[in-house]
């Protein structure tokens, strides 16, 4: 039975708006909606370029709406976490008065039988506006704009940036071979798979031979020694970013396992200061106790199950000029 792991990622983005969107978004904080005039059309949402020809449109913005007419709509009975309303609502194409094209937005109509093509709608503004399209919380039936609380002030400065966050949970299978390799680390074992065609051996349970492009199964498993030699390494000075867990320099090592051609890449050092790591250093694998509850981390730099990393054995270094070339 294949195991699945869930991984929730929140993507943090901060977008620059440029002159046209800056004007539009800033106006939203003033509860005004702008369209871009090009020829005899007024585009809403406003565009930097003509959506048909790509030609520059320029900064000719005029106020439209705020009341508009529903041109088309669909009912959303069960909204997603990203939707503007967390109760059933309509997504509608709304042509604001004075605009040539419709804007997509939510309409809080209560039930699908209360909305129809031709319905007049007006914005319900958020009381606190940041200069985003969802400063319009939604549209409401009728011709009276609303504010969803005690009205807040417009932006003090031009709004030039926009934050965007999107959270998604991914559910991925752990290949059987990888799961078995992870399970083996709970017993302090390093499990690999050996290709019957070319003898290449793969640590960590990849489940196939890269060179022969054939699947490898349980019958191809081999136990590896848990001692080896550092062939290469990198010391990383961490850069801060959302989700970063490191603050001090840390090392990642490449370990050639004794008596094999198997390299464990990007391995952590355990009880081994980063400035003592060198090519030729003898190391042995360090495993967390079977009972340890470890979070699974990604391929590069992450631990494989209970294999926490490697520590020095105290044996003399290996002197081999070719060692450093063994990165893979």
């Amino acid at each position: 039975m294949t195991r699945f792991v869930e991984n929730t990622i929140t993507f943090p983005y901060r977008r620059s708006l440029g002159p046209l969107l800056t004007t539009f978004m800033t106006a939203l904080t003033e509860k005004r909606i702008l369209g871009s005039r090009t020829g005899d059309r007024v585009l809403v949402p406003p565009m930097e370029w003509d959506p048909q020809t790509g030609a520059d449109i320029g900064l000719d913005l005029i106020e439209v709406g705020p009341v508009g007419t529903v041109e088309s709509w669909t009912w959303v009975p069960s909204p997603s976490a990203q939707h503007p309303l967390q109760k059933p609502f309509a997504f509608a194409f709304i042509r604001l008065d004075g605009a040539t094209t419709p804007l997509l937005h939510a309409v809080d109509a209560g039930s699908p039988d209360r909305i129809a093509k031709g319905a007049r709608v007006a914005p319900r503004w958020k009381a606190k506006r940041a200069g985003r399209i969802d400063d319009i919380a939604c549209f409401v039936l009728g011709t009276e704009p609303e504010v969803d609380g005690p009205d807040g002030p417009p932006a003090a400065d031009l709004v030039t940036m926009m934050d965007y966050l999107a959270t998604t949970t991914y559910r991925n299978p752990v290949p059987v071979a990888a799961d078995r390799a992870i399970a083996a680390t709970r017993e302090g074992r390093l499990l690999a798979q050996k290709c019957p065609q070319c003898d290449s051996t793969y640590a960590g349970g990849r489940g196939y031979c890269v060179l022969c492009a054939v699947p490898l199964g349980i019958e191809h498993e081999v136990d590896l020694p848990t001692v080896g030699t550092v062939t290469n390494f990198v010391v990383i000075t961490p850069v801060q970013y959302p989700g970063q867990t490191e603050t001090e320099p840390f090392v990642r090592m490449f370990v050639l396992v004794d008596g094999t051609h198997v390299i464990y890449g990007y391995q952590a050092a355990v009880d081994l200061p980063w400035d003592q790591v060198r090519v030729g250093l003898r190391v042995r694998a360090v495993f967390a106790p079977a009972s340890a509850d470890l979070e699974e981390v990604g391929a590069m730099g992450g631990n494989l199950g209970n294999l926490l990393g490697w520590t020095a054995t105290g044996e003399p270094d290996v002197d081999d000029p070719d060692l450093v070339n063994r990165i893979f």
Partner: protein, 347 residues
């Protein structure tokens, strides 16, 4: 715009089982499906001159997710290789251009995706206009519904015909084929009901393309690509007529759809039932053209491979003696971007 002159043909293709959730990684699926493709043709990975893979990082949830898929193609010794962040149908397009250059003979293209990995309703809004649409969580289902309404208003579709498309595509019989009963079910997004929506499918497709002489040596009846084109429209559906698909029309014209004998079948990437009716209308397919005998995207919808599998099923028609078939692929909200591939057999 000209039509390249070199003979290039689809020689074979293979697909993984199309399932709701596979236990295989994308790389494992590809390894299997490429082997399944090559074996019956008596070829090995060493025979492949060029590979082009189609997949999508956001479906996988990992930057550079396609890199490990190189393990599946046998890129050792190294290969001429490319990757498109598009459906495998476009990977085929790149390979078709590449083979036209005349120096190589065999290309393998793939499309792959594990749609089950994430929630499409949360992933796909990230494909939309980042200022006006993504922040509203505007999802593909919403756009499909708005397009369906436009298509219905234009008289090109109605809810009954949409249900019929679904029943036919899924090969439903008995009570499950009761149109009146289907039309009594709730809307998921008015005017779309559950049966109008595609399933979530994991799967991968691999296809082998060869230059004419090589193709004829490999199989008796290759499916020659005699027309291949794709076109796009502006992104935001606010600025489009949703009861039309001009990019499909231009691509079909450029691919020579109306220049030869009529196609016998058309495999359309219509994930929503109304899309089949719209495409059929825009492509001016006559009543005798069989649409989606494979069941189409309503039966299985492996994202990033759905389009390539349409081309595969069109090729199947030629392999089994058919004369001319059309395949279509699409990407983006409300059929923003459309691809037309015409395959023909020769006697």
């Amino acid at each position: 715009m000209a039509t390249p002159s070199k003979d290039i043909a689809i020689v074979g293709w293979a697909q993984t089982p199309m399932v709701r959730r596979t236990e295989q990684t994308e790389t494992q699926m590809l390894m299997q499906v490429i082997t399944d493709l090559l074996k019956p043709l008596g070829l090995t990975r060493a025979d492949i001159d060029f590979t082009c893979l189609g997949s999508c990082d956001y479906i996988t949830g990992q930057a550079f997710s396609f890199v490990s898929n190189l393990d599946a193609i046998g890129a050792w010794p190294p290969k001429r290789d490319s990757h498109v962040e598009m459906d495998g149908a476009w990977a085929l397009y790149e390979a078709w251009l590449r083979l036209q250059e005349g120096d190589i003979e065999i290309a393998v293209v793939t499309g792959s995706g594990r749609s089950s990995t994430g929630d499409p309703a949360l992933i796909y809004p990230m494909e939309m206009d980042p200022f006006f649409l993504a922040p509203l969580g505007a999802d593909p289902l919403t756009f499909a519904a708005l397009q369906a309404r436009a298509v219905i208003e234009a008289g090109i579709a109605d809810e009954r015909r949409m249900a019929e498309v679904s029943v036919r595509s899924r090969g439903r019989t008995g009570p499950k084929a009761d149109i009146d009963a289907l039309l009594k079910t709730d809307y998921v997004r008015e005017p779309l009901r559950r049966h109008d929506l595609p399933p979530i499918t994991d799967g991968a497709v691999a296809m082998l393309l060869a230059t004419g002489d090589r193709a004829r040596k490999l199989v008796k009846r290759p499916a020659y690509i005699t027309g291949f084109d794709h076109r796009t429209e502006c992104h935001n559906p606010s600025f489009r007529r949703l009861d039309d698909s001009p990019s499909t029309r231009i691509a079909a014209q450029a691919a020579g759809l109306h220049d030869g004998p009529p196609v016998e079948i058309a495999e359309l990437q219509a994930a929503f039932s109304h899309e089949e009716l719209l495409l059929r209308h825009v492509l001016e397919l006559g009543p005798d053209v069989r649409v989606n005998p494979s069941g189409g995207a309503l039966k299985s919808n492996p994202i990033m491979a759905t389009g390539l599998s349409r081309i595969g099923h069109a090729a199947n028609h030629v392999f089994s003696g058919g004369r001319r078939a059309l395949a279509h692929s699409t990407s983006g909200p409300c059929l923003q971007q459309n691809l037309i591939c015409i395959v023909e057999g020769r006697s």
